[in-house]
Amino acid sequence: MNWLVRFGIYTLEALFVVGWSGTAIVLLLTGIEDVETLVEKDEPPQA
């Protein structure tokens, strides 16, 4: 297999793995925020 193809595949794999690790943190943080959003009550609109 040509080194360029290999390099391309490793790059894509790295992007995917690093991306998913970061996304896991996004899911965790937004999940916590989502619970707060659901619990929070609306303030009445300003007149």
């Binding site: 297999m1 193809v5 595949i9 894509l12 794999e13 992007l15 995917f16 793995v17 690093v18 991306g19 998913w20 690790s21 970061g22 996304t23 943190i25 996004v26 899911l27 943080l29 937004t30 999940g31 925020e33 989502d34 959003t37 659901l38 929070e40 609306d42 303030e43 609109p45």
Partner: protein, 799 residues
Amino acid sequence: MPSSPQDTGQVSNRVRIVVATSVMLTFISFWRAAAIILNDLGSSAFYAGGIAEQAVGKSAPWFVLAVMLFSFGVRAVYVESCSMFVRGGVYRVVKEALGGTLAKLSVSALMFDYVLTGPISGVSAGQYIAGLINETFLFADAHGWIPRAVHVIFHGTPQVSENWTAVVFALLVTLYYWWQNTKGIEESSEKALRIMQITTVMVVLLLAWSGITLLQTGFHLPPLPTLSNLHFSTEALGFWKDSRIAYHFAILAIIIGFGHSVLAMSGEESLAQVYRELAHPKLKNLKRTAIVIGVYSFVFTGIVSLLAVMLVPDAVRIPVYKDNLIAGLAMSMVGPLVLRLAFRAFVVVVGFLILSGAVNTAIVGSNGVLNRVSEDGVLADWFRHPHRKYGTTHRIINLVVGLQIFTILVSKGDVYVLGEAYAFGVIWSFVFKSVSMLVLRFKYKGERTWKVPPNLKIGKTEIPIGLASVAMVLVATAVVNLFTKSVATVSGIVFSLGLFTIFTVSERVNRRKHAQFQQQMKEQFQLLQSDTVERAGLGIRPGNVLVTVRDYNTLSHLKWVLEHTDTKEQDIVVMTARVSQFGSAAYGLSTEQVFSDYEQQLFTRAVSVAESFGKRVSLLVVPARDVWSAIVQTAINLESSAVVSGLSSKMTSQEQAFQLGRTWEETSEPKRQFVLQVVHPDGQVDTFRIGPHTPTMKPEDIHLVHRLWLNITREQGLENLHHHDILTEALTRFAHDYAGRDQKEILHDLRRVSRASPSAPALDSSAGTQAVRSLPADEDEPISSNKDEGPSSSPIVGP
């Protein structure tokens, strides 16, 4: 207040036109917004699992679950974009970040997504129906209910071709919605909510019954997505089908599997499109909408795909139920066959509703997007020409539906091929969106009330870790998809480049045309841009007459108003609404986008009519998603006493009044009453009061009240009683009785009274008669008046 960037000085011979640039919307709750999005997003549950398993084997549900989990991250990107731009769709965001060329390319990918949503949904619904028909025939045959003669004709149990039945069904549904959209159906969040309620009943039953089945039969989870468990089909490897590359790299194999399941999260773009219409508090409601659709689609698409692999036997799951997996799930439950067949029929009904809704969403969405780019000068004005009878952008609708019909026929009812191609549009529009958002983190300095977490601050630089992570996953998946989805890559690139070329050529042609148009505009009209519609902006007095116009060939109602109105006493405002649907409401509009050459022609004609009467009119263009709410909002904002319209070509004057009355009821306070006058081509005028008003009383009722008043005022201490006190007491007692046990009796009496009443005069009125109606409440007795009376001259005072 309106402002004119280049025309601060008045030019006497030019007509002033106020162009409102904010779309007039009725706001919706987050539940309704979620229902609209889920009608698109949730529909993929019916086919995503089957397509993924055909591509990667039995481990597919893990990929679908991963996609549904990842969709929370994609949704976070959309929430951030909406916190920056109220209309934060792909086109706007990409244009802002990466410029017009890439924006056109991103819209082309999005259009590919939209154009394919229709065929895949229609074909999938058809597959479910055909599957049910065949199963029913088998059931009937097993019970000996099929006559021998039928057996002979079909050489056994009658069976329909699932693919061709799906093609026919998809064509019928597409043609049905083509006609509905040509006529201009209203987008109804109510309808979306109802469909989602029925779908929820099905999902709950499905989960509960699956739970019971699993408890009784035991269960095995699908194999984990390891390299040894992944079995890619030849089609799933696309350009790599002759290579072993997918089996040499474990993570690459996972990316391939993920890429084949990505269509499960199609429909996220709708989030940006409904954001504008969300009620206060907007951002919080957007987050709530995102949570609802996230959890719902995770359970529906993700868990149901998992259950299908756990419950439907391997022998039939792909061979029999690959295109109607939920039907297969229904048939694999424990319990009597009749009950399972009945539940399958329910699944088919729900599938029919939600998937047909998605066919409509596809037409509405692509019409909205093409309208938007057309308004931006990227697509020739020819496409935006309103339908002569219905006023809709029929040429765009024809183009989209034509492409969809072509796709349905080419696919020959194969859901897998459609799904593979569909994923191209889904993933590339997400890639454009997330990369643009990443660029905007460094480029855009405006307000941003929410950011995708986490963000690492080093000195003055903020590193958007969360946003970059989501973008990285999307880019890696999209690039791998280019190699593994050969059909999608070829068709997607051909389609996107084709559309991109049309956009680029149209833009060049339009630029030249636009310069000429601007010159003509400068000579004839003075455009004043305004965010909102206000009386001061138009320089008019309260109690004015609002005349709605659309077709420059039918302005007889404007002539009638001009003939009957003394403009020294009462101002006339000629208004036209530029209807935009969900899609285009999501984008910013500039004056030139709202005021096209069609509006110029329309107003040129209106002004020449007014000049022929020697009277002055004010001109107004409002963009609107719903024409009725635009009229009601404008009449309220301008404090108009009357709205005058021509008779619609598709509804009666009563129906026009009913629509307007219903919209008035839905409009939030403060609001005021007005009169609607519908002028028929023969000069007959029907008049309706919009909003609550004093009912017209019959003489005998007046006499009755008077007699009662005479009797009661003879009583001691009641000498000062008024007539209205008697009415108040009577109505209070009536309301009390109606709320209590006499309701049935009251309704019975009212029905008798209603039957005995003479027919409504407006229905059979002769020329010169005006029928005054209260709508949408029950009709009052008519007040007859002369047609020469003209529009209502004073504001109607509320009760």
